[in-house]
Amino acid sequence: MFLYFLISLAVGIEGGYNEPALGFKNIDSGTTFMLFMNRYWRIADVTLSIGTGFNTGDNPSYSMNSYGLRLGLSKNNWLFSPVLACGADYLRRTLHDAKEVGYAFIYVIGLNINFRYERVRLYPQFYYEGLTDFKEHGGFIGTKLGIGYEI
């Protein structure tokens, strides 16, 4: 059973660049890196991913880091695939030696352009990633390049 589960999985990595689109006026830009595994389930590919992000501030001494977990849906067999994901991030922002930590609920809306070669899937992704603490919304627009391998 575990073997079946394993061989029906795809694993991969994503990396990209983003900029604030809503709120976060003290942030300049950021980079993200994610590891994921996905599996086709009923009607869509379900993706579980973990990742980290690093955002630099307009103040060179300011930065914001994130560490998160996402659960997403996509259609990896389509050339143009919508992407929906949600999850949670542990966030840390620092200015010199001062820091604040917190959590945020994350939601992602995006588009994958899937290119396939045998078991390998290469895709650029364009996305909006929203963060909320249920009082305020902020968000980033960004692009990622991902590569997945079907085990």
Partner: protein, 213 residues
Amino acid sequence: MEQNWGLVMKYRFLLVLVLFLFCSNENFVQRASRDYFLFEEGNWWRYASGDDTMLVEVEPADTILQTECFPVSFGGYTRYLAESHTAIIEYINVLYNFAGDDYTIIDDFVMRIELPLVDGNNWEDSLVGSLEVAGQLIQAKYHVRGVVTGFTHDDNFDGDVYTIELSSVERVILLDTTMLDSSYVVEHYAPDIGLVLFDNEVGEYILIDYEVQ
């Protein structure tokens, strides 16, 4: 097999739900994304301290030393403030009066509050200047020190309110004398409102009314 996969999915959704609930007590995004300083022409705040009231009003923008700044009237006393990506800066003009004439010893901007606001951050900045007046060297030093001492959630302002302690010292040094002027103020800033309370040598002023764009 499908049943096992469904079970796995159920636990994943439960995990997300738990994280969702966990996040609901946090205001991190609010603190990181909202504006605590609203220097826009026409914005005003009214404060009360006992029977005394004070109106703080942002006047039309002005340019000093090639820097666009906003004259902010604190009950008639005008301070020139500007916001950059890294700080709230204030125009400092230290004068020395000799024989009825004012001589400018310091004419520059100092970092009043470093941005963005982060709990525990502290900063300092200083200005120095000197001028020879009637054969006597006059020196002046202006030093400001600030620290974000914390934040607390305040339902009245629908957000986390930061507390900042600011102290400044102005020294004018003559050959045989030093003139000293120091100040200490504790300021509280709320998101999308601005200064909601300040406590200085005169007293504690609490926001009673405001209008911001």
